[in-house]
Amino acid sequence: MTDAKQVDILLVEDNPNDAELAIRALRKNKLANNLVHVKDGEEALDFIFAKGQYAGRNINDRPKLVLLDLKLPKVDGLEVLRAVKSDPRTSLTPIVVLTTSKEENDVIESYKLGANSYIVKPVDFDKFVEAVRELGYYWLLLNEHL
């Protein structure tokens, strides 16, 4: 998948079940064609900044959208967010945060760090599909013009 030149969505999610649900929700909305799934914050940074195992990538081939879980092993989601949003080479990459509850301080903290939006991962799968559809379309379409 990493060979694909244009990556539409970078999914950063360590929980394999959550990842499968997210990919399914994206697929249902026909948004999963060019998707890369990374499993921790370190790998996410490697991908976005084209280093480590992704050193062959061009840093300017920005994903059109990053779906970022906040609770991640090694480097957590907020740190990824901070790193991406504070570097001029990557700061325009839209990041949508995946969170368990909208009441968490994480959401406020994410916005402070420059997150573009957030999706609450609902238990109700249909709601999740709906949320992914709205945000996915919005950001992917918007990004066409960037």
Partner: protein, 391 residues
Amino acid sequence: MRTEPGEDPLVRANRLLEESQAIAHLGGWEYDVAENRISWTPETFRIYGVGPDYDPNNLANDIGFYSTSSAPIIAEAFAKALAMGDGYDLELELVRADGKTIWVRTVGRAFLVGGKIVRVAGNIMDIDERKIAQLRLAELNAGLERCVLERTAELESANRDLESFAHTMTHDLKAPLRAIAGFSRMVVEDYKDVLDTEGKRLLGIVYENAVKLDALISDLSCLSRIGRQVPVKSSIAMRAMAKDVYHDLAVPDKDAMVVLSIDDLPDVIGDPGLLREVWGNLLSNALKFTSDRSFRKIDVYAHTTDAERIYFIRDNGVGFNPKYAGKLFGLFQRLHREGQYAGTGAGLAKVKRIVELHGGRVGAESVEGEGAVFYFALPLESMTAGGKRGG
């Protein structure tokens, strides 16, 4: 009191003085500058624990009775009184002749004649019992303060544990729930041709229960958040808020026939976000529990007393058995059978917690089958305070 017939008035006065000094454990002394002589009253000898043969006429000896820490203090105070006429009043440790250390209060004063210090005189008082008690009290107080600090720290730590528990609950319990709900839904979607109706129904139950548990967890974490919140208060137009909340809740087709009346309600000072929740829960209950009536009526009105403003929400719904009124506001207490009315049973617990956070109280009355009145009362004093509390 002893009376000696024919006693000389001067002798008598002297006897009285000695007796009262003995009773009060108060000794007298003086230093006569011109004569360079120190005199003590008998009680002073007793306080020092020395016999009448002791000669107080050696100042260094006299001061030597004080403890090592007290001696320099009394020496300096006495020297100052003698040189500059300064008085003193000190509480010091005296080591009696028998070796026992006691607390004494020693007071000195200089007497001047023609601008010259002619004598320094004062009292010495045995205050050991009082001082010991005082010191013990101070010690106890310090201990008590330490204890309070320790308990506060313990409570704070317990509170942090609870917070992290609530956080864990929402985070870590919800991930498996998402999997249960999501994957059971996947099975139904991906194997719809293989599954028969019963199979789909069973998986539907798995899904529904996961969603229900999700709601319970959300309610719990919401309640714990309310408990930790400091209300941010401002003036609230209660009638407008109640109306607004009602119109958000009422479903156009379903609730169009509800006869709603909202009286003029007095404004309050409170946290708008939280009080909105109160109205939301009480009004949605009124809608819910009148839903199977052919004629549905909801009245909102208020009553002001000297101490509080009470807001009432009355409906003509199914009501409840007053026997269970005490249970109504408990967490996850439902007075209706599962499936009869929707809800987790956290709504009224939330209402109670929010109102109590505002220093108020809640209550409900009902005649089963004839409707119910729920009310919440907010104290007037919390309104006059105005503005924000805490931060």
